[in-house]
């Protein structure tokens, strides 16, 4: 029947276009996510840069820097005990949330789940209590958990949850609560991004304490306080626990570092959060002291004589220098740069010029410091340098038991991603770990007599994905991760036969009622919004790029040139020609009048005229970096930073990023945010201003967001006017 064929032809084409849109949307989200991760790495490079190049001119600035870099650890147990002194935290009578007492019983854990379902919040005292008990338990566990299907019939493995409490509740609902017959392994990344991170942690720790033999947790790259600063967990804790948040965060550092690194089922199935590298070695992993790795985001060596460092505060910038203290070893790394082996420390920018510049600078600084401190710490200078004999490679240095090689082992486990090509190369998208190919997987399986690997770390549209000839299974349990309708979540069950059974779900009733078209449209709109935001943030660079294609000064460029220009500025690797119809709507004769296009973009993003668009553009582009920096500066997590600190950090930031914004406009900006005129800026309000800009675009265009010139707006919720 011709009619039928016609309809079918048309329909199939329609579906195909939808599919194409879905793929593009996916790439947009992924590339923006990874770009964000790269920003994080750049941020760390920024700090390293600061240390190398910034000569503190005033005592204040030096203190400022040193307090950013020194990490005071609660290593000693008696100190720890005093810190998590939960007994002193009183629970008021009006508290209606769940109560917890020890020893923890299954009913308590179940009650927690119920309470969280009803949106109750657990009191700080119990949070601290649970963390304390969790740490005591975790300390006893080995680096690699070995479990067996003999004890429980089946084992359920779940992937990233990222603070999405609904998904965890759904998993327990669909698969059943943990019990002696029902084992669970949660493969890291419990926190960040979603809004229920602390609740998820409480539930997971509670069940771990109730069923220690059947409930297991692996560490993920987000179980890391530095990552938390950027991706929302720190914010969530401070917001929910205004009085005790700081204590909870500090304790969490001590808990996260004790999480086991991997789980092994029947000696045949290895579960790690990220992946492996060609250097991954289970024996080494088992032996190292995992709690010494507080963060896998940067490699810092602890000085052997910690007391000495803290005594002379003026030499604290000395401390991070130690990670590159031997002039000869970085130099040796430069010739090796050609082969991108996984042994190049990821905190280095793989750029020969940069390395030699830094080395020269750090050597100079070092010499300067030596000269400065000749009197005071001469003996110290002599002590430290011989510890690192010039001939030694970076990875044979050994200070306090965690050397570079060990740290890299853990970073690889937590950050790597599989790739289809053979080989193993540095993971440039994430900045840590590597990409590993099927041959690396094969070697690993053979070396340790394994059947397959289970890992998480990457979001997949179906919630799971097999690769490397079904030898690697990615399992991701946060459904609707990017946006409602973006992806399913999944978990995998293993019985005695070790054959994986996958269960998928999407924890949002609304998505079931939407058709595919609607789902894709929603997600797509969200992705395009994010993309437009990024385009706006690079307006000036884009203008420059467009101009270079418009040599005659006609103000028009071809659409083809548009695609090329955009990619050259954003470096996101997206299929711009496919996306173009969605981003460029007005063309005349196939030519684009780029200036008005940029203006339209700006109009979408701005809702007020007080801040010049260039300043807003710059701030916007660096928003998440700024937020992270703010949170680091605000070391007491008070939510306030002083006017001076704000100016200082902005000066440093702008000189590093070569941003040309006048001091004056920054001052104006800062002053306008300082509503109560007490010289302090509320970080949250500053950032809220950006959210409002975003929101007003989403809401009705004719919303009335009054912009006021002066800063005496009594209603602080208006943010920056």
């Amino acid at each position: 029947f011709k009619a039928a064929v016609l309809i079918q032809r048309w329909y199939r084409r329609y579906i195909a276009r939808l599919e194409m849109r879905r793929r593009c949307t996916w790439s947009i989200f992924q590339s923006i996510e990874y770009a964000g991760q790269q920003d994080q790495v750049k941020l760390h490079d920024f700090f390293s840069y600061l240390v190398d190049h910034f000569t503190p001119s005033s005592h204040n600035e030096r203190d400022f820097l040193s307090c950013m870099f020194t990490e005071k650890r609660l290593l000693k147990d008696p100190e720890m005990e005093k810190y998590c002194d939960y007994e002193s935290i009183e629970v008021p009578d009006y508290y209606t949330g769940p109560h917890v007492s020890f020893p923890l019983l299954p009913d308590h854990a179940t009650a927690l789940v119920e309470a969280f379902k009803q949106k109750k919040q657990l009191h700080a005292r119990y949070v601290v209590n649970i963390l304390h008990e969790a740490r005591n338990h975790l300390i006893q566990l080995p680096n690699i958990n070995r479990i067996s299907t003999c004890y429980s019939e089946e084992i359920t493995v779940c992937g990233d949850l990222h603070g999405q409490l609904d998904d965890l509740i759904f998993i327990f609902y669909k698969n059943g609560l943990p019990s002696p017959e029902r084992s669970y392994v949660f493969n890291g990344d419990f926190v960040d991004r979603g809004k229920g991170s602390i609740e998820i942690l409480m539930i997971l720790f509670a069940f771990m304490l109730v069923y220690p033999k059947e409930f297991h947790l692996n560490r993920g790259n987000h179980e890391d306080h530095i990552v938390n600063l950027r991706y929302g967990f720190t914010k969530e804790v401070m917001h929910k626990y205004k009085v005790h948040g700081k204590k909870i965060l500090k304790m969490l550092q001590e808990v996260f570092c004790w999480l086991p690194l991997a789980t092994l089922i029947d000696g045949k199935v290895l579960i790690i959060h990220g992946g492996i590298s060609d250097k991954t070695n289970l024996e080494l992993l088992e032996k190292l002291e995992r709690h010494k790795i507080i963060s896998t985001m940067k490699y810092t060596k602890k000085p052997e004589k910690e007391k000495l460092v803290e005594e002379s505060r003026s030499s604290s910038p000395w401390f991070p220098l130690k990670s590159r203290s031997v002039p000869s070893s970085p130099l040796r790394l430069s010739p090796q740069k050609g082969s991108r082996s996984a042994s190049i420390p990821c905190s280095f920018i793989p750029n020969r010029k940069e390395i030699s510049k830094r080395v020269r600078k750090s050597v100079q600084l070092e010499l300067e410091k030596c000269r400065q401190q000749v009197g005071v710490s001469e003996f110290k200078v002599q002590e430290e340098l011989p510890l690192l004999p010039p001939e030694s490679e970076l990875d044979s240095c050994d200070l306090e038991g965690v050397n570079y090689e060990e740290w890299k082992q853990v970073a690889d486990i937590l950050w790597s991603d599989p790739m289809p090509q053979e080989g193993c190369k540095a993971n440039t998208a994430r900045g840590e770990g590597c990409y590993f190919g099927p041959n690396v997987t094969e070697q690993m399986l053979q070396r340790h007599n394994l059947q397959f690997l289970i890992r998480s770390h990457e979001c997949k549209p179906e919630g799971y994905e097999f690769c490397h000839n079904r030898k690697v299974l990615t399992i991701f349990s946060a459904s609707n991760y990017y946006e409602v309708g973006s992806n399913r979540g999944a978990y995998v069950k293993l019985g005695r036969d070790l054959i994986p059974h996958i269960v998928q779900y999407q924890a949002n009733r609304a998505t079931h009622t939407l058709t595919m078209r609607q789902r894709i449209s929603r997600v797509e709109e969200s992705a395009l919004r994010a993309l437009r935001e990024k385009l706006f943030a690079h307006s000036s660079s884009l203008l420059g790029a467009f101009k270079s294609y418009d040599l005659d000064g006609t103000n028009f460029i071809t659409l083809s040139d548009w695609s090329a220009a955009v990619e050259s500025v954003l470096h996101l690797g997206l299929p711009w020609r496919v996306l173009r119809p969605q981003l460029v709507t007005h063309t005349t004769n196939n030519m684009l009048e780029y200036k008005s296009w940029l203006n339209d973009l700006a109009k979408e993003q701005l809702s007020h005229e007080n801040i010049q668009s260039s300043l807003l553009e710059v701030l916007y582009r660096n928003r998440s970096n700024l937020e992270t920096i703010f949170r680091i500066i605000d070391s007491d997590h008070s939510g306030l930073i002083s006017f001076d600190e704000f100016r200082q950090i902005w000066k440093l930031f702008s000189s590093h990023m070569n941003i040309d914004i006048s001091d004056e406009s920054i001052c104006d900006l800062a002053r306008s945010i300082d509503f109560n005129k007490d010289g302090n800026i509320d970080i949250n309000e500053f950032l809220e201003a950006f959210r409002l800009v975003e929101q007003s675009y989403l809401e009705d265009k004719d919303s009335e967001l009054k912009t006021s010139e002066t800063s005496d707006s009594s209603c602080s919720s208006q943010g920056i006017h």
Binding site: A4, R9, R17, Q421, R577, V578, P581
Partner: protein, 162 residues
């Protein structure tokens, strides 16, 4: 739709770049090959509306002598350029589609029952898979009357495409 106009007026280079972009979206290994099962999606997203049979012919043209399950860009590109330049497999105009529905609507009532649509789509022409059928129904079916008001459905879909 913008794409159609474009492919006629743009230069050869632009067409090639467009095809490459679309191809790359599905090139998961970044080695200029895509799974043969995705070719249909790529071709359709570039503005063409071939039937399944026509699609198979196209694939046969670009497959390797010994089918590997993958199609290489270097074979796909020239074929696709020709298709676009010759404006083959143009999409169906709305009124023709409406006529098609009307042909199926034997009783000329302005709607099709769910059973009728299912029967035609899964038994006649180039049959739908069950998935395709379900998906189409989810959008097309009017839950109150359990029928497909095809005029409205078409109108909605056409707006959507733009």
């Amino acid at each position: 739709m913008a794409d159609d106009k474009d492919s006629g007026e743009m230069g050869l280079q632009e067409i090639q770049k467009k095809i490459k972009d679309a191809f790359e979206v599905f090139d998961h290994e970044s080695n200029d090959t895509v799974d043969v099962r995705e070719i249909g999606t790529i071709i359709r997203s570039l503005g063409c509306c071939p039937s399944e049979g026509e699609l198979h012919d196209l694939i046969a043209e670009v497959e390797e002598e010994e089918p590997t399950g993958y199609i290489r860009l270097e074979k796909f590109l020239p074929m696709m350029v020709k298709v676009l330049l010759e404006r083959r497999y143009r999409p169906i105009p709305e009124d023709l589609l409406l006529q098609a529905f009307e042909v199926l609507d034997a009783a000329k009532e302005g709607f099709l029952t769910k059973e009728e649509l299912m029967k035609y789509m899964t038994e006649e022409g180039e049959p739908f898979t069950q998935e395709e059928m379900e998906e189409m129904l989810s959008a097309a079916l009017d839950p109150e009357t359990n029928t497909i008001q095809y005029r409205d459905y078409l109108a909605m879909m056409v707006i959507d495409e733009n």
